[in-house]
Protein backbone atom coordinates (compact mmCIF):
# COMPACT_ATOMS: atom_id res chain seq x y z
CA UNK A 1 0.00 0.00 0.00
CA UNK A 2 1.34 3.44 -0.89
CA UNK A 3 0.56 4.81 2.57
CA UNK A 4 2.89 2.35 4.18
CA UNK A 5 5.74 3.33 1.91
CA UNK A 6 5.20 7.00 2.72
CA UNK A 7 5.90 6.30 6.37
CA UNK A 8 9.61 6.19 5.69
CA UNK A 9 11.53 5.47 8.86
CA UNK A 10 8.37 4.51 10.74
CA UNK A 11 7.24 0.89 10.82
CA UNK A 12 3.77 -0.15 9.73
CA UNK A 13 0.96 1.64 11.59
CA UNK A 14 0.21 -1.59 13.45
CA UNK A 15 3.79 -1.87 14.72
CA UNK A 16 3.69 1.78 15.60
CA UNK A 17 0.59 1.09 17.66
CA UNK A 18 2.34 -1.87 19.28
CA UNK A 19 5.21 0.34 20.30
CA UNK A 20 2.83 2.97 21.62
CA UNK A 21 0.90 0.39 23.64
CA UNK A 22 4.09 -0.81 25.28
CA UNK A 23 5.28 2.74 25.97
CA UNK A 24 1.97 3.87 27.45
CA UNK A 25 0.82 0.55 28.93
CA UNK A 26 0.77 1.85 32.48
CA UNK A 27 -1.32 4.94 31.65
CA UNK A 28 -3.73 2.96 29.53
CA UNK A 29 -4.22 0.39 32.27
CA UNK A 30 -4.80 3.23 34.74
CA UNK A 31 -7.52 4.69 32.54
CA UNK A 32 -9.08 1.32 31.85
CA UNK A 33 -9.30 0.60 35.56
CA UNK A 34 -12.01 3.28 35.71
CA UNK A 35 -14.01 1.78 32.85
CA UNK A 36 -17.00 -0.41 33.78
CA UNK A 37 -15.51 -3.58 32.32
CA UNK A 38 -12.53 -3.53 34.68
CA UNK A 39 -14.06 -1.57 37.55
CA UNK A 40 -16.98 -3.93 38.07
CA UNK A 41 -15.06 -7.15 37.59
CA UNK A 42 -12.06 -6.37 39.77
CA UNK A 43 -13.82 -5.01 42.79
CA UNK A 44 -11.25 -5.92 45.44
CA UNK A 45 -8.79 -3.19 44.61
CA UNK A 46 -7.99 -0.75 41.86
CA UNK A 47 -4.46 -2.11 41.64
CA UNK A 48 -5.88 -5.45 40.66
CA UNK A 49 -7.83 -3.83 37.84
CA UNK A 50 -4.73 -1.93 36.70
CA UNK A 51 -2.72 -5.14 36.76
CA UNK A 52 -5.33 -6.94 34.68
CA UNK A 53 -5.47 -3.99 32.29
CA UNK A 54 -1.71 -4.11 31.81
CA UNK A 55 -1.86 -7.77 30.87
CA UNK A 56 -4.47 -7.01 28.23
CA UNK A 57 -2.42 -4.05 26.89
CA UNK A 58 0.65 -6.28 26.65
CA UNK A 59 -1.31 -8.84 24.72
CA UNK A 60 -2.64 -6.17 22.36
CA UNK A 61 0.90 -4.85 21.85
CA UNK A 62 2.07 -8.33 20.96
CA UNK A 63 -0.74 -8.75 18.44
CA UNK A 64 0.05 -5.34 16.93
CA UNK A 65 3.75 -6.23 16.68
CA UNK A 66 2.98 -9.17 14.47
CA UNK A 67 0.72 -7.06 12.23
CA UNK A 68 -2.29 -9.23 13.01
CA UNK A 69 -4.64 -6.52 14.31
CA UNK A 70 -7.55 -8.02 12.38
CA UNK A 71 -7.02 -11.62 13.46
CA UNK A 72 -8.90 -12.88 16.54
CA UNK A 73 -6.78 -16.05 16.43
CA UNK A 74 -3.52 -14.11 16.78
CA UNK A 75 -1.08 -15.70 19.19
CA UNK A 76 -1.10 -12.65 21.47
CA UNK A 77 -4.76 -13.12 22.34
CA UNK A 78 -4.31 -16.66 23.61
CA UNK A 79 -2.50 -15.27 26.65
CA UNK A 80 -5.46 -13.16 27.74
CA UNK A 81 -8.28 -15.32 26.44
CA UNK A 82 -8.86 -16.88 29.83
CA UNK A 83 -8.82 -13.56 31.62
CA UNK A 84 -11.11 -11.97 29.05
CA UNK A 85 -13.55 -14.85 29.35
CA UNK A 86 -13.58 -14.46 33.12
CA UNK A 87 -14.34 -10.77 32.73
CA UNK A 88 -17.04 -11.43 30.15
CA UNK A 89 -18.52 -14.18 32.32
CA UNK A 90 -18.58 -11.89 35.36
CA UNK A 91 -20.48 -9.29 33.36
CA UNK A 92 -22.93 -11.88 32.05
CA UNK A 93 -23.52 -13.18 35.56
CA UNK A 94 -24.29 -9.65 36.65
CA UNK A 95 -27.15 -9.74 34.14
CA UNK A 96 -25.52 -7.96 31.24
CA UNK A 97 -26.37 -9.02 27.71
CA UNK A 98 -23.76 -9.84 25.16
CA UNK A 99 -24.47 -6.52 23.46
CA UNK A 100 -23.81 -4.64 26.70
CA UNK A 101 -20.56 -6.50 27.26
CA UNK A 102 -19.66 -5.61 23.71
CA UNK A 103 -20.29 -1.95 24.49
CA UNK A 104 -18.15 -2.27 27.61
CA UNK A 105 -15.26 -3.46 25.52
CA UNK A 106 -15.88 -0.73 22.99
CA UNK A 107 -15.65 1.84 25.80
CA UNK A 108 -12.00 0.87 26.25
CA UNK A 109 -11.10 2.34 22.87
CA UNK A 110 -11.59 6.13 23.30
CA UNK A 111 -9.10 6.56 26.17
CA UNK A 112 -6.43 4.73 24.20
CA UNK A 113 -7.20 6.66 21.05
CA UNK A 114 -6.90 9.99 22.88
CA UNK A 115 -3.54 8.97 24.26
CA UNK A 116 -2.39 7.81 20.85
CA UNK A 117 -3.32 11.08 19.16
CA UNK A 118 -1.70 13.18 21.87
CA UNK A 119 1.39 11.01 21.55
CA UNK A 120 1.82 11.85 17.90
CA UNK A 121 1.65 15.65 17.76
CA UNK A 122 4.27 16.09 15.08
CA UNK A 123 3.69 12.95 13.10
CA UNK A 124 2.45 13.23 9.51
CA UNK A 125 -1.33 13.04 9.32
CA UNK A 126 -1.10 9.90 7.19
CA UNK A 127 0.67 8.14 10.01
CA UNK A 128 -1.79 9.37 12.62
CA UNK A 129 -4.68 8.19 10.50
CA UNK A 130 -3.01 4.85 9.84
CA UNK A 131 -2.33 4.36 13.53
CA UNK A 132 -5.83 5.24 14.69
CA UNK A 133 -7.26 2.91 12.05
CA UNK A 134 -4.97 0.11 13.17
CA UNK A 135 -5.95 0.78 16.79
CA UNK A 136 -9.65 0.76 15.93
CA UNK A 137 -9.28 -2.53 14.08
CA UNK A 138 -7.27 -3.95 16.97
CA UNK A 139 -9.88 -2.92 19.55
CA UNK A 140 -12.61 -4.33 17.31
CA UNK A 141 -10.77 -7.62 17.23
CA UNK A 142 -10.47 -7.52 21.01
CA UNK A 143 -14.21 -7.09 21.17
CA UNK A 144 -14.66 -10.09 18.92
CA UNK A 145 -12.33 -12.16 21.10
CA UNK A 146 -14.25 -11.26 24.25
CA UNK A 147 -17.59 -12.19 22.68
CA UNK A 148 -16.16 -15.34 21.21
CA UNK A 149 -14.80 -16.49 24.55
CA UNK A 150 -18.07 -15.58 26.21
CA UNK A 151 -19.92 -17.79 23.75
CA UNK A 152 -17.57 -20.74 24.00
CA UNK A 153 -17.67 -20.36 27.78
CA UNK A 154 -21.44 -20.68 27.56
CA UNK A 155 -21.19 -23.76 25.40
CA UNK A 156 -18.75 -25.39 27.80
CA UNK A 157 -21.02 -24.56 30.71
CA UNK A 158 -24.01 -26.14 28.99
CA UNK A 159 -21.99 -29.28 28.31
CA UNK A 160 -20.83 -29.49 31.93
CA UNK A 161 -24.33 -28.98 33.24
CA UNK A 162 -25.71 -31.61 30.91
CA UNK A 163 -23.24 -34.10 32.34
CA UNK A 164 -24.02 -33.03 35.89
CA UNK A 165 -27.71 -33.47 35.27
CA UNK A 166 -27.18 -37.00 34.06
CA UNK A 167 -25.35 -37.76 37.27
CA UNK A 168 -28.22 -36.67 39.45
CA UNK A 169 -29.34 -40.10 40.49
CA UNK A 170 -32.48 -40.95 42.36
CA UNK A 171 -31.43 -42.95 45.39
CA UNK A 172 -33.91 -44.93 47.39
CA UNK A 173 -33.06 -44.66 51.06
CA UNK A 174 -34.09 -47.19 53.66
CA UNK A 175 -35.26 -45.22 56.68
CA UNK A 176 -36.50 -48.08 58.83
CA UNK A 177 -37.46 -51.69 58.45
CA UNK A 178 -40.27 -51.54 55.92
CA UNK A 179 -39.92 -47.80 55.19
CA UNK A 180 -38.10 -46.44 52.14
CA UNK A 181 -37.82 -42.85 50.97
CA UNK A 182 -36.99 -41.18 47.66
CA UNK A 183 -35.83 -37.58 47.83
CA UNK A 184 -36.92 -36.09 44.53
CA UNK A 185 -34.80 -33.22 43.29
CA UNK A 186 -35.18 -30.94 40.31
CA UNK A 187 -37.42 -31.34 37.33
CA UNK A 188 -39.72 -34.35 37.20
CA UNK A 189 -40.07 -34.81 33.48
CA UNK A 190 -41.47 -38.00 32.04
CA UNK A 191 -38.10 -39.70 31.65
CA UNK A 192 -36.97 -38.98 35.19
CA UNK A 193 -40.24 -39.88 36.82
CA UNK A 194 -40.11 -43.19 34.96
CA UNK A 195 -36.70 -43.83 36.54
CA UNK A 196 -38.07 -42.81 39.94
CA UNK A 197 -41.01 -45.17 39.63
CA UNK A 198 -38.84 -48.09 38.59
CA UNK A 199 -36.24 -47.66 41.30
CA UNK A 200 -38.92 -47.14 43.92
CA UNK A 201 -40.87 -50.24 42.95
CA UNK A 202 -37.68 -52.29 42.92
CA UNK A 203 -36.83 -51.03 46.37
CA UNK A 204 -40.32 -51.86 47.61
CA UNK A 205 -39.73 -55.47 46.56
CA UNK A 206 -36.11 -55.67 47.77
CA UNK A 207 -36.73 -54.05 51.14
CA UNK A 208 -40.15 -55.57 51.71
CA UNK A 209 -41.27 -52.01 52.25
CA UNK A 210 -44.75 -51.28 53.47
CA UNK A 211 -44.28 -47.52 53.27
CA UNK A 212 -42.63 -45.50 50.55
CA UNK A 213 -42.07 -41.80 51.14
CA UNK A 214 -41.76 -39.51 48.12
CA UNK A 215 -40.17 -36.30 49.31
CA UNK A 216 -40.71 -33.39 46.91
CA UNK A 217 -38.89 -30.71 48.93
CA UNK A 218 -36.39 -30.44 46.08
CA UNK A 219 -38.97 -30.18 43.30
CA UNK A 220 -39.34 -26.47 42.53
CA UNK A 221 -42.55 -26.66 40.51
CA UNK A 222 -45.45 -29.04 40.95
CA UNK A 223 -47.68 -28.69 37.93
CA UNK A 224 -50.32 -31.07 36.64
CA UNK A 225 -47.79 -33.28 34.87
CA UNK A 226 -45.65 -33.68 37.99
CA UNK A 227 -48.78 -34.40 40.00
CA UNK A 228 -49.83 -36.97 37.44
CA UNK A 229 -46.46 -38.69 37.68
CA UNK A 230 -46.68 -38.67 41.47
CA UNK A 231 -50.15 -40.17 41.44
CA UNK A 232 -49.13 -42.88 38.99
CA UNK A 233 -46.17 -43.79 41.19
CA UNK A 234 -48.42 -43.88 44.24
CA UNK A 235 -50.92 -46.08 42.46
CA UNK A 236 -48.23 -48.47 41.24
CA UNK A 237 -46.69 -48.78 44.70
CA UNK A 238 -50.12 -49.40 46.15
CA UNK A 239 -50.65 -52.28 43.74
CA UNK A 240 -47.52 -53.82 45.19
CA UNK A 241 -48.80 -53.50 48.71
CA UNK A 242 -46.86 -50.41 49.75
CA UNK A 243 -48.52 -47.23 50.93
CA UNK A 244 -47.00 -44.03 49.55
CA UNK A 245 -46.65 -40.83 51.52
CA UNK A 246 -45.81 -37.63 49.66
CA UNK A 247 -43.86 -35.26 51.89
CA UNK A 248 -42.09 -31.94 51.57
CA UNK A 249 -45.08 -29.95 50.40
CA UNK A 250 -44.22 -26.34 51.05
CA UNK A 251 -46.92 -23.72 51.70
CA UNK A 252 -46.54 -22.07 48.29
CA UNK A 253 -46.76 -25.45 46.56
CA UNK A 254 -49.82 -26.40 48.59
CA UNK A 255 -51.63 -23.20 47.59
CA UNK A 256 -50.64 -23.67 43.97
CA UNK A 257 -51.96 -27.23 43.92
CA UNK A 258 -55.28 -26.01 45.30
CA UNK A 259 -55.58 -23.20 42.72
CA UNK A 260 -54.56 -25.53 39.95
CA UNK A 261 -57.46 -27.73 40.98
CA UNK A 262 -55.43 -30.89 41.45
CA UNK A 263 -57.08 -33.49 43.64
CA UNK A 264 -54.46 -35.26 45.72
CA UNK A 265 -57.14 -36.48 48.08
CA UNK A 266 -56.30 -40.11 47.50
CA UNK A 267 -52.67 -39.53 48.40
CA UNK A 268 -51.40 -39.33 51.96
CA UNK A 269 -49.40 -36.13 52.23
CA UNK A 270 -47.28 -34.63 54.98
CA UNK A 271 -45.52 -31.29 55.29
CA UNK A 272 -42.08 -32.67 56.05
CA UNK A 273 -40.11 -35.88 55.69
CA UNK A 274 -39.99 -36.15 59.50
CA UNK A 275 -43.79 -36.05 59.68
CA UNK A 276 -44.03 -38.68 56.97
CA UNK A 277 -41.58 -40.93 58.83
CA UNK A 278 -43.46 -40.45 62.08
CA UNK A 279 -46.70 -41.34 60.32
CA UNK A 280 -45.21 -44.47 58.75
CA UNK A 281 -43.64 -45.59 62.03
CA UNK A 282 -46.91 -45.06 63.82
CA UNK A 283 -48.75 -47.12 61.20
CA UNK A 284 -46.16 -49.86 61.65
CA UNK A 285 -46.78 -49.75 65.38
CA UNK A 286 -43.34 -48.37 66.20
CA UNK A 287 -43.98 -45.07 67.94
CA UNK A 288 -41.12 -42.85 68.94
CA UNK A 289 -40.94 -41.86 72.60
CA UNK A 290 -38.39 -39.76 74.44
CA UNK A 291 -35.88 -41.89 76.39
CA UNK A 292 -35.88 -39.56 79.38
CA UNK A 293 -39.28 -38.14 80.26
CA UNK A 294 -39.16 -34.37 80.21
CA UNK A 295 -35.71 -34.55 78.60
CA UNK A 296 -36.45 -31.61 76.42
CA UNK A 297 -37.24 -29.46 79.43
CA UNK A 298 -33.80 -29.76 80.95
CA UNK A 299 -32.09 -27.95 78.12
Amino acid sequence: MPEHEALGEHGSPAREVGEFLRRRGEQIAQRWADEPLFRTVFTVSRDEAVEAGKIVVDALAQVADTDQVHDPDAAGFTLVREQLSRMGAARSRAGFTTAQVSNDVDALRPPVENLLVSDLPDAPSDLVRGCTTALTVLMGTLRLVVLETALSEGQALIERQRLQLLEVATPVIKLWDGIVAVPLIGTLDSARSQVVMETLLEAVVDQHARFAILDITGVPTVDSLVAQHLMKTVAAARLMGAECVVSGIRPAIAQTIVHLGLDLGTVITRASLADALAYALHELGADIVNATPGGAGRR
Binding site: T187, P220, T221, V222, D223, L225, H259, L260, G261
Partner: protein, 146 residues
Amino acid sequence: MRTAAGVEACLPIRSDMDLVWVRQHVRQAAGRLGFGLVEQTKLVTAASELARNTLVHGGGGQMETAPVSDGPVRGLRLTFSDEGPGIPDLERALTDGYTSGDGLGMGLGGARRLVHSFTVDSTPGVGTTVTVVSWASRAPRSREGH
Protein backbone atom coordinates in the same frame (compact mmCIF):
# COMPACT_ATOMS: atom_id res chain seq x y z
CA MET B 1 -52.10 3.96 33.89
CA ARG B 2 -51.11 0.54 32.79
CA THR B 3 -47.86 0.46 30.94
CA ALA B 4 -45.80 -2.27 29.44
CA ALA B 5 -42.09 -1.62 29.27
CA GLY B 6 -41.76 -3.64 26.10
CA VAL B 7 -40.82 -7.24 25.63
CA GLU B 8 -38.04 -8.23 27.98
CA ALA B 9 -37.25 -11.66 26.66
CA CYS B 10 -38.44 -14.15 24.09
CA LEU B 11 -37.81 -17.80 24.82
CA PRO B 12 -38.28 -20.64 22.37
CA ILE B 13 -40.42 -23.60 23.42
CA ARG B 14 -39.24 -26.53 21.35
CA SER B 15 -38.32 -29.26 23.81
CA ASP B 16 -38.67 -30.45 27.40
CA MET B 17 -35.40 -28.70 28.19
CA ASP B 18 -36.95 -25.41 27.06
CA LEU B 19 -39.73 -25.90 29.62
CA VAL B 20 -37.12 -25.96 32.38
CA TRP B 21 -35.66 -22.75 31.02
CA VAL B 22 -39.10 -21.15 30.81
CA ARG B 23 -39.81 -21.97 34.47
CA GLN B 24 -36.47 -20.69 35.66
CA HIS B 25 -36.75 -17.54 33.61
CA VAL B 26 -40.25 -16.75 34.90
CA ARG B 27 -39.17 -17.49 38.47
CA GLN B 28 -36.23 -15.12 38.21
CA ALA B 29 -38.18 -12.40 36.42
CA ALA B 30 -40.97 -12.58 39.00
CA GLY B 31 -38.43 -12.52 41.82
CA ARG B 32 -36.81 -9.40 40.38
CA LEU B 33 -40.19 -7.68 40.22
CA GLY B 34 -40.77 -8.33 43.91
CA PHE B 35 -43.25 -11.20 43.67
CA GLY B 36 -43.84 -13.02 46.94
CA LEU B 37 -43.06 -16.70 47.12
CA VAL B 38 -46.67 -17.79 46.68
CA GLU B 39 -47.42 -15.50 43.70
CA GLN B 40 -44.09 -16.51 42.20
CA THR B 41 -44.83 -20.22 42.55
CA LYS B 42 -48.31 -19.78 41.12
CA LEU B 43 -47.06 -17.88 38.08
CA VAL B 44 -44.23 -20.34 37.46
CA THR B 45 -46.68 -23.24 37.65
CA ALA B 46 -49.08 -21.50 35.25
CA ALA B 47 -46.17 -20.83 32.89
CA SER B 48 -45.20 -24.49 33.11
CA GLU B 49 -48.70 -25.61 32.16
CA LEU B 50 -49.04 -23.12 29.32
CA ALA B 51 -45.57 -23.78 27.95
CA ARG B 52 -46.30 -27.49 27.94
CA ASN B 53 -49.54 -26.84 26.06
CA THR B 54 -47.59 -24.80 23.55
CA LEU B 55 -45.14 -27.67 23.14
CA VAL B 56 -47.51 -30.65 23.20
CA HIS B 57 -50.64 -29.26 21.53
CA GLY B 58 -49.20 -26.36 19.55
CA GLY B 59 -46.18 -28.26 18.30
CA GLY B 60 -43.78 -25.74 19.78
CA GLY B 61 -43.71 -21.97 19.85
CA GLN B 62 -42.38 -19.25 22.05
CA MET B 63 -42.91 -17.30 25.26
CA GLU B 64 -42.47 -13.58 25.58
CA THR B 65 -42.10 -11.94 28.94
CA ALA B 66 -42.72 -8.27 29.61
CA PRO B 67 -42.75 -6.38 32.86
CA VAL B 68 -45.90 -4.30 33.30
CA SER B 69 -46.83 -1.72 35.86
CA ASP B 70 -50.02 -0.25 37.19
CA GLY B 71 -49.06 2.75 39.25
CA PRO B 72 -46.70 1.47 41.91
CA VAL B 73 -47.68 -2.16 41.45
CA ARG B 74 -45.51 -4.20 39.18
CA GLY B 75 -46.43 -7.29 37.31
CA LEU B 76 -45.29 -9.71 34.69
CA ARG B 77 -46.99 -10.48 31.41
CA LEU B 78 -46.32 -13.77 29.69
CA THR B 79 -47.39 -14.44 26.13
CA PHE B 80 -47.32 -17.98 24.80
CA SER B 81 -47.80 -18.34 21.10
CA ASP B 82 -47.73 -21.25 18.70
CA GLU B 83 -48.72 -21.90 15.12
CA GLY B 84 -50.38 -25.18 15.87
CA PRO B 85 -53.85 -26.49 15.06
CA GLY B 86 -55.56 -24.07 17.45
CA ILE B 87 -58.24 -24.85 20.01
CA PRO B 88 -61.56 -25.72 18.29
CA ASP B 89 -63.69 -25.54 21.43
CA LEU B 90 -62.23 -23.13 23.94
CA GLU B 91 -65.03 -23.57 26.46
CA ARG B 92 -64.41 -27.29 26.60
CA ALA B 93 -60.62 -26.89 26.70
CA LEU B 94 -60.99 -24.74 29.79
CA THR B 95 -63.13 -27.35 31.51
CA ASP B 96 -61.32 -29.20 34.25
CA GLY B 97 -60.72 -32.79 33.40
CA TYR B 98 -61.11 -32.41 29.66
CA THR B 99 -58.00 -33.32 27.75
CA SER B 100 -57.20 -33.85 24.11
CA GLY B 101 -53.95 -35.55 25.09
CA ASP B 102 -53.25 -37.96 27.90
CA GLY B 103 -52.77 -35.42 30.69
CA LEU B 104 -55.01 -34.65 33.62
CA GLY B 105 -56.89 -31.96 31.73
CA MET B 106 -56.16 -29.39 34.42
CA GLY B 107 -53.57 -27.34 32.54
CA LEU B 108 -55.49 -24.56 30.84
CA GLY B 109 -58.22 -24.13 33.45
CA GLY B 110 -55.71 -24.49 36.27
CA ALA B 111 -53.40 -21.92 34.74
CA ARG B 112 -56.33 -19.49 34.51
CA ARG B 113 -56.93 -19.79 38.26
CA LEU B 114 -53.25 -19.24 39.04
CA VAL B 115 -52.94 -15.82 37.40
CA HIS B 116 -54.74 -12.49 37.66
CA SER B 117 -55.55 -12.03 34.01
CA PHE B 118 -55.93 -14.67 31.32
CA THR B 119 -56.79 -14.33 27.65
CA VAL B 120 -56.79 -16.93 24.92
CA ASP B 121 -56.76 -16.06 21.26
CA SER B 122 -57.03 -19.14 19.15
CA THR B 123 -57.85 -19.61 15.50
CA PRO B 124 -58.18 -23.19 14.30
CA GLY B 125 -55.51 -23.90 11.74
CA VAL B 126 -53.61 -20.70 12.47
CA GLY B 127 -52.43 -20.97 16.03
CA THR B 128 -53.00 -20.08 19.64
CA THR B 129 -51.83 -17.19 21.76
CA VAL B 130 -52.33 -17.25 25.50
CA THR B 131 -51.55 -14.09 27.45
CA VAL B 132 -51.44 -14.04 31.23
CA VAL B 133 -50.62 -11.25 33.66
CA SER B 134 -49.79 -11.58 37.34
CA TRP B 135 -49.15 -8.78 39.79
CA ALA B 136 -46.53 -8.72 42.48
CA SER B 137 -49.17 -8.15 45.14
CA ARG B 138 -52.98 -8.40 45.11
CA ALA B 139 -54.53 -7.23 41.90
CA PRO B 140 -54.59 -3.44 42.18
CA ARG B 141 -58.01 -2.97 40.64
CA SER B 142 -60.83 -5.17 39.59
CA ARG B 143 -59.65 -8.51 38.37
CA GLU B 144 -60.00 -8.78 34.67
CA GLY B 145 -60.39 -11.49 32.13
CA HIS B 146 -62.87 -13.64 34.05
